[in-house]
Amino acid sequence: MSAIVYTETVVHMAPERFVSEAPYQIAIVTLDEGGRRTVRIAGQRVQIGDAVEFVEERNGIPFYRKRD
């Protein structure tokens, strides 16, 4: 499952349940099959226009990472 980053942000001030994980990056990605979803970015930071791919789902959170 691959997608293109539509927009992104690095969250520094996190809500209570994610405080220990900050800073972390989230992005809205446009899926190849159509539609968008909000995802967490694993590993390297991404920018608008970057191609990303699905890595795994952890605690209901979809993680994507930059494609090489």
Partner: protein, 388 residues
Amino acid sequence: MGMRSVAVIGIGKTAFGAFPDRDLRSLAVEAGEKCLTDAHVSPSEVEAFYLGNFAGPAFVDQNHIAPYVASALGISGVPCTRIEAACASSGAALFQAVSAVGAGLYDLVLVDGVEKMTSRPTAQVAEILAGAGDCSGEVLVGATFPALFAMIARRHMYQYGTTREMLAAVAVKNHANGAKNPLAHMRKPITMEQALAGKPVSDPLTVFDCSLISDGAAAVLVAPLERAREFTRNPVKVLGIAQTSDSVALDTKEDITTFRAVRLAAEKAYKMAGVTAGDIEFAELHDCFTIAEIIATEDLGFAPRGGGGRYALEGRTCLRGERPVNASGGLKSKGHPVGATGTGQICDVVTQIRGDAGELQVSRHSIGLAQNLGGSGATAVVTILAGA
């Protein structure tokens, strides 16, 4: 359908700020009492009460808030209803009140708005506010409200070349105004350098791009225009008002650099008022984040699409600019007690129209607009007011 013309005949607000020794009810009662006094109306004359409040149950563990506040104001036996529409809660409450008076159901309706936010630590407040987003998607992934507006800002920058300086220009302007507002939460001017060097909240937004977590209340009394002068020498006419909606999740919107609900509400309110964007002399806009004010100026037709950043940077929205925006200091400096923000904006616009804004008085003040936004644009309320 024919509708009676409606007027604002009274306003009242508390200071906005962090008040550890004040509870939700005492704030709402203070604003309500000031409003009734301003309108020369007694509590027993009020025929319906609408309370805008976003998250009383989460912030202060209190439900059933409308009769809880109304009875303390001396209002009883009449319909008392809480309206929740995230940060547009009291704008939406005003819309209900104007609709009801316009339809002839009641003559005197009190609209109060209140939020008590500072009794919780910031991370908990962020968690509660995030509840205005889609908790099965964006919030689950870790989005806060600053994060949602940061993603909006990033996309606006990418599509239109909006810069950090343009965002900072909004913060500098609103702090300059708020510094002169005795009821503002943060009465402190900031420089462009400070605004650019703020502590990061959610990139590219820093603390200086974000509105404040505040306690406060604001109330408005509406009546049929034909009866307004029985109560006050300076009624303000509701020329137009519209409430609209859109989907909640940011990732369901085709273009996140504009708020469809705001564009729709503006279109309806302008039509009802028989005016165009060019007729609006000043405005109180929902700057929950600096980027939100920039987009609001575009969605309302003050600036061209994508040109809101430049419009702000050029100083056109300053107190002495061609169309002052947020002369009060806006949510950025005045504070953003979520449920009180919509009615707070109406109080500020009415104060300007009456010519009572003191140091912050805008030069042309016969017709003003208030725009109240819920969440990341799922609710919008646009109200156009003019001297009667």
